[in-house]
Symmetry: C2
Subunit: 211 residues, 2 copies
């Protein structure tokens, strides 16, 4: 009986932990990390603030979990395209197009993940995920260089440049002022423009022949 | 007399504030933002920890001041080169070379400024300074596009890509693991390599004719 009671307890704990993270992610998608407070989160999850601390050491830890689970999905989606069918240039284009489109359709969340000022725990995760993205590009660049599709020599550095360029290209268009301008109809930058400019920038930068 | 006493007090306050910031900057240059604690800083400045709080609300505020004063210098140095003599492509190359060299020679500080996980106040400043850098590139890109030296259409987006690429290219080589590898003689990436790869990446990306 003791054993059974404790497995039930573990299952309940796990379930509550997941519910908390689900609520946290919904908050960040809606209002960014700024709206992720322990009090609001406890209310969303229908528990006492103190109970949150039985599952997570701090708000920073929750923010870092929301960050890493959302980013893991993006890395997986990008990997599938970069390792999929097509020439290296086609795959790079398709990966960038998909990445920009996904960010565009979850703007608030994408801006939060890429650039919103937030706890150092999330910054730590940002560094790790930028390396994960860079690793995907390294693989593609190596293949492209072997096939003569790209002209690159210091591949890890070029991969880092791509990661930086992609993130920064999206920060502006996804940022709160840009979103407000678009909603007010005063901004000309749409998804197709951002996506195409980013693709052109990156293909040229890796020395792909221009089509 | 009252008036004189208060101006003396203001001068003394200003002087102490500057001394604190000087000590804070020395700490960050030596051990990154991680080594900037209120207690250590008070010791360096030879004052009580409580006195620090009479001048600054929080450690985050001090970190943000160290960040912005160091970055202001870098923006000014880059502006001078980008607005200096030479063709747009020459100025872009010279600006990148100088930026990389300055970062390389103050590695610990440069990594802290660009990427070290730290208080949200510093992240806020990072977003602002990235815009300041982007503005410098926008000016150069507009001139280059007018003169036919660069082939770029959505200039603000391309400028953002450049800012991202430059920052990210330096994060890896400046990061603590890379510094340790270089000190142990196990890394092949030297300043000239990083600098030249970055220049090639950026010139190609903006459609400058290859020389």
């Amino acid at each position: 009986m003791v054993y059974r009671a404790s497995t039930q307890r573990i299952d309940r704990d796990q379930e509550l932990r997941e519910r908390i993270l689900h609520c946290a992610r919904a908050r960040v998608s809606e209002g960014g990390f700024a709206s992720l407070t322990m009090q609001a989160l406890a209310e969303d999850a229908g528990i006492a603030t103190g109970s949150l601390y039985r599952h997570f050491r701090s708000k920073g830890e929750i923010a870092a979990e929301v960050f890493s689970s959302a980013c893991r999905v993006e890395v997986d989606v990008l990997r599938e395209i970069l390792q999929g069918p097509g020439t290296p240039a086609q795959r790079l284009s398709a990966g960038l197009e998909q990445f920009a489109a996904r960010a565009w359709h979850s703007r608030r969340l994408a801006f939060a993940l890429i650039a919103e000022p937030v706890d150092a725990e999330v910054d730590e995760q940002r560094l790790l995920f930028r390396e994960a993205y860079a690793d995907l590009f390294i693989e593609l660049l190596e293949e492209g260089a072997r096939l003569g599709a790209f002209r690159v020599s210091h591949i890890s550095l070029v991969a880092a440049c791509l990661v930086g360029a992609i993130a920064e290209a999206l920060v502006g268009p996804l940022s709160p002022p840009a979103r407000a301008a678009r909603e007010a109809g005063t901004s000309a930058m749409d998804l197709a423009t951002v996506s195409q400019s980013l693709i052109t920038f990156c293909l040229r930068a890796v020395g792909a022949p221009e089509s």
